[in-house]
Amino acid sequence: MHHDWNSPQQLARLRRRHAANRRMKWIGLAAIGLAAGALALLVISLVATGWPAFTQTRITLQFDLDPKLVKPDDMRKGSWRKIIKTALLKEVGPVKSRKDRRKILKIISRGAAYELRDHVMKHPDLVGRTITYAVLAADPFDQFYKGVIPEYIGEGEKRFFNPRLGSPVVVAAFRKLIDKGLVSAPFNWGLFFNADSRLPEQAGLAGAIVGSFLTLLVCFLISFPAGIAAAIYLEEFAPKNRFTDFIEVNINNLAAVPSVVFGLLGLALFLGWFGMPRSAPLVGGLVLSLMTLPTIIIATRSALKAVPPSIREAALGIGASHHQMVLHHVLPVAMPGILTGAIIGMARALGETAPLLLIGMNAFIPDISNMGILDPATALPTQIYSWADSPERGFVSRTSAAILVLLGFLLVMNAAAIWLRQKYSKKV
């Protein structure tokens, strides 16, 4: 007898199966929605907080570069603050009280004097002339101009003047500058090209970017060749015995060790035992390579395992020796997988903070002109950590901006991994 495919039981069963299909699909979509939502929330909050840091308030003034004040023989000894003071008061107009004058002068960043000095030192022919130059506004006025902090805090009875802005007289003077069209907020190139500074308006990520680059370079140069060599040995040459099993288990365990432990190991081994310099990218790179090595070994091994045996047989079948088989045929085919693993390992190393803090790679680096792998340095994640700790309002937005820059680098690295994988796969 034939089964009745149209019986009510059978149809009900079919409906239940379709309902289960739909349920599964919706659960999956909900999970993806949750993940995407969390990511969007993170990025939106970072952009909202970090956005102001990508512009920097500047005040355009006329500076009279009187040789008597500039001291062309040694401009370092020039009276730059006096030049700025004169230029500012010329625009604000006469201020009677000496106390107010001093407060008004605080509209301009303390770093402006050095900025102006460096500018004139680069162009010595400007001495003796009157130049138009946009100098940095101090952090409170930078924030005020961008609308991050208000003039008055609180409501009604409790409303009071924001003490960061000095006094109403100063704000009035700043408003006058705005009315004259002297205040502007161009793109903040300093965020990328300046070294760190105590002054938020002057602080940039250049030191951290260079430090991270040097650290990752050391990390890559050590962990990439060593990881591939170790993986090739374990996968292709090592006899399968208890000793190699033991090594394999330990490599898998190492990949799961918290990074702070590697930091402690680096502190004890590289700094304590070998006496390497503190805070140096060399040590940072060594510590991170310890951490990245297991990841690269595991990625390389699985990439080698995934190479079809037919390619190995083909190579051996025409008399290639074992190492020729590996180098000429297996490794090129495995390369996309190896590169992907390596780049993902490096991306993880780029974002690693704890081990770098332990070896002191959160140094304050106000000058990036001579950064080597043996000099004290900082890195992007540790810079974020330092800035997040700073009380000035300007560092709040700069911290978010620095996180965005770090995420940008991670995005570029992951994109590179995908690009390399596709490029190599196409060749195959």
Partner: protein, 317 residues
């Protein structure tokens, strides 16, 4: 040898009958009847296997009145504790095609892979016995496996060109073995090999295109060209046409026919028709034992063993 009527002692009448019966085999009809007529008088399979185990020279040293390229004696192969090949003794003539047939898992591929030591790459595999290539024991250490594999080329079941250009696929072997002094000589080897593999005309304009972009049949001929390029003496083929369509198969078979003028060819095949078409001699393997070996016509039309007959007539396998 006179007691064994398998190699040369075929009378014209028998031969005619054999031809007739073989046509039936190829047609796949009326075989059972023909086979059952021949069945009486054939010893029980078990008895014969016993005899082989003891190394009875009459059975273990099959007639081979041509120059034997490879001589194997009492070959046993183990995968760990499991024995895959039991005491196989087989002589393989030069400039001829030897087909290894038998049901899946009978050890014919394993035996084939012993001949160029491809089993070495399997850790748990152990080979016992004597395998001689032109009188030299290939497992003795007198021949390096790397050089052995240059002399004994191999073509695999699935076409497996390297993911490189057509030119590089063929040039790779000569390059690693230092067979060409310069680029011109290498180009020459590549061209000759591709011509011998009947692929030259199809690829001469795109030698630097990837080998993996060719059709399945072309890929397999490229693999044959790659095997020929190291100037081997023996070519082992492990079901070379099983992944190909009938037209590509026919081209490969034509090619095998061409190549046997210059090479000793050993081919493993699941297709009885293919064995009948391309081989000069056939060896039937069953459960790791060599059941029967002889001229192809005789094995197909007048097998000594009931198991052989059952297999080629499709009773099992």
């Amino acid at each position: 040898m006179s007691t064994e009527p398998n190699a040369t002692g075929m009378k014209p009448l028998e031969a005619a009958e054999a031809e007739e019966a073989m046509r039936e085999v190829l047609a796949g009809e009326g075989v059972a009847d023909a086979a059952s007529e021949l069945a009486p008088g054939v010893p029980e399979p078990e008895t014969l296997a016993e005899g082989q185990m003891e190394g009875d020279p009459a059975v273990a040293e099959p007639a081979c009145n041509q120059d034997c390229k490879i001589i194997t004696r009492h070959v046993n192969v183990f995968y760990g504790d499991k024995q895959a090949i039991f005491d196989v003794s087989l002589d393989i003539p030069d400039r001829a095609v030897m087909a290894l047939i038998g049901p899946s898992g009978c050890g014919k591929s394993t035996f084939l892979r012993c001949l160029n030591r491809m089993n070495d790459i399997i850790d748990i595999c152990r080979v016992e016995g004597d395998i001689r290539l032109e009188g030299v024991d290939i497992y003795s250490g007198e021949i390096d496996p790397v050089l052995l594999r240059a002399r004994v080329g191999m073509v695999f079941q699935k076409p497996n060109p390297f993911p490189k250009s057509i030119y590089e696929n063929v040039a790779y072997g000569p390059r690693i073995h230092g067979l060409a002094k310069d680029r011109t000589e290498l180009d020459e080897i590549v061209e000759t090999s591709l011509r011998k593999a009947a692929l030259w005309d199809e690829v001469k304009d795109r030698l630097h295109a990837p080998g993996t972009g060719l059709s399945g049949g072309q890929q397999q001929r490229l693999c044959i060209a790659r095997a020929i390029a190291t100037r081997p003496e023996v070519i082992l083929m492990d079901e070379p046409a099983s992944a190909l369509d009938p037209i590509a198969t026919a081209r490969i078979e034509e090619l095998i026919d061409e190549l046997k003028q210059n090479y000793c060819i050993v081919i493993v095949t699941h297709s009885m028709q293919q064995a009948a078409r391309v081989s000069d001699r056939t060896a039937f393997f069953h459960l790791g034992r060599l059941v029967e070996e002889g001229p192809t016509e005789q094995v197909f039309t007048n097998p000594r063993e009931k198991r052989t007959q059952d297999y080629i007539t499709g009773r099992f396998g």
